[in-house]
């Protein structure tokens, strides 16, 4: 009589165990690393005498519109909704300039075209922060490169460092090519009538 062999306990491959453990731990870490306390963020000295006096990120940021990247805050939405109202100038006589004009940049192969909104940028920044040293103030006059951007040039001077990171492709590449007007192959102002409108906020 043949006795069937005792079924051997199935052993999960070691790499699978490691992968599952890593993914699980990564998910836990992602949940836990939203706004670490300053004393545990790896840059502040937990023994420093100032640490107890500084504002904690969670205290300030948890009340702002939530996001999935960067500071986990939709900063422009925070401005637009009025939940924050940071000062635009501190020196008397500074001209505060806001430009409401979108630029469509469509010379980028098969990716959706880029819509660059001047309004959202000039709510935070002055014209001189980008013009003329980063970008010429003429639609179509600039050459863009994702390689340069990923290396911290052009848009990457801020995006990937303080403003939303470069993982968020479709926030810039937001215009499907099917929606582009004909001949919109170069960068062009999307609303040219607004092109000269510089207004105080």
């Amino acid at each position: 009589m043949n006795v069937p062999p005792c079924p051997r306990r199935t052993r999960l491959p070691r790499w699978l165990v490691a992968a599952v453990a890593w993914v699980g731990a990564a998910a836990l870490a992602a949940a836990a690393t939203v706004w670490l306390p300053l004393a545990k963020d790896g840059v502040h000295d937990p023994r420093g005498p100032g640490i107890a006096l500084l504002q904690q990120p969670a205290e300030a940021l948890a009340t702002l519109p939530p996001d999935t990247a960067g500071n986990m805050v939709k900063w422009v939405q925070a401005l637009d909704s009025g939940v924050i109202n940071p000062r635009s100038s501190i020196l008397p006589g500074t001209e505060v300039r806001v430009l409401d004009q979108d630029i469509i940049i469509a010379r980028n192969g098969s990716m959706p075209a880029v819509k660059f909104p001047h309004r959202q940028h000039t709510l935070w920044l002055d014209c001189s922060n980008c013009h003329e040293h980063l970008f010429k103030a003429k639609a179509g006059a600039n050459k863009y490169s994702m390689t340069a951007i990923l290396n911290g040039e052009q848009c990457g001077l801020c995006h990937g460092a303080v403003s939303f990171p470069l993982t968020e492709c479709n926030r810039c590449h937001s215009v499907p090519r099917s929606q582009l007007p004909p001949l919109a192959t170069a960068s062009s102002p999307a609303n040219p009538r607004a092109s000269a409108k510089v207004t105080p906020p």
């Binding site: 070691r14 165990v17 490691a18 453990a21 890593w22 731990a25 990564a26 870490a29 992602a30 836990a32 690393t33 670490l36 300053l38 545990k40 963020d41 790896g42 840059v43 502040h44 000295d45 420093g48 100032g50 640490i51 006096l53 500084l54 990120p57 300030a60 940021l61 702002l64 990247a69 960067g70 500071n71 805050v73 900063w75 924050i84 940071p86 000062r87 635009s88 100038s89 501190i90 505060v96 709510l123 935070w124 920044l125 002055d126 001189s128 922060n129 951007i149 990923l150 290396n151 911290g152 040039e153 990457g156 001077l157 801020c158 990937g160 460092a161 303080v162 990171p165 470069l166 993982t167």
Partner: protein
């Protein structure tokens, strides 16, 4: 199994110790002068001031490492000293509130941008 968990913990260590996005460490002079490096939190400042205040009016260039920020200038009311003067914000005598970083930190932008860029920071 234990080894796998240990490996996972090792891999995640940098993620668990992460400054807030946009934090800048200034340590060109601090370590040499025997004080803690400065940790500049962008998130804290942009709730109160738009980028243009510091990066246009105050003259901070937008590339981390391209500004030579000296205490003597701050005390004279330049750079941070434009606000950190005891009127708009705490004054330069409150050393430990800005010089709050761990000794030996490299200067530059920190906070775990999710790309390899910006490479020159």
């Amino acid at each position: 199994m234990k080894r796998a968990l240990f490996a996972a913990a090792l891999l995640l260590l940098p993620a668990l110790l992460q400054a807030e996005y946009g934090d800048v460490v200034l340590n060109r002079h601090s370590d040499k002068q025997g004080v803690r490096p400065v940790v500049f939190p962008h998130w804290f400042h942009r709730i109160r001031f738009r980028c243009k205040v510091c990066h246009s009016e105050l003259g901070f260039k937008m590339r981390a490492g391209s500004n030579e920020v000296l205490m003597s200038d701050i005390i004279d009311g330049k750079f941070c000293g434009m606000c950190h003067n005891g009127q708009i914000a705490w004054g330069p005598e409150r050393c430990d509130l800005c010089h709050s970083g761990l000794k030996g930190l490299p200067s530059g932008i920190t906070g775990g941008a999710q790309t390899s860029g910006p490479g020159r920071w």
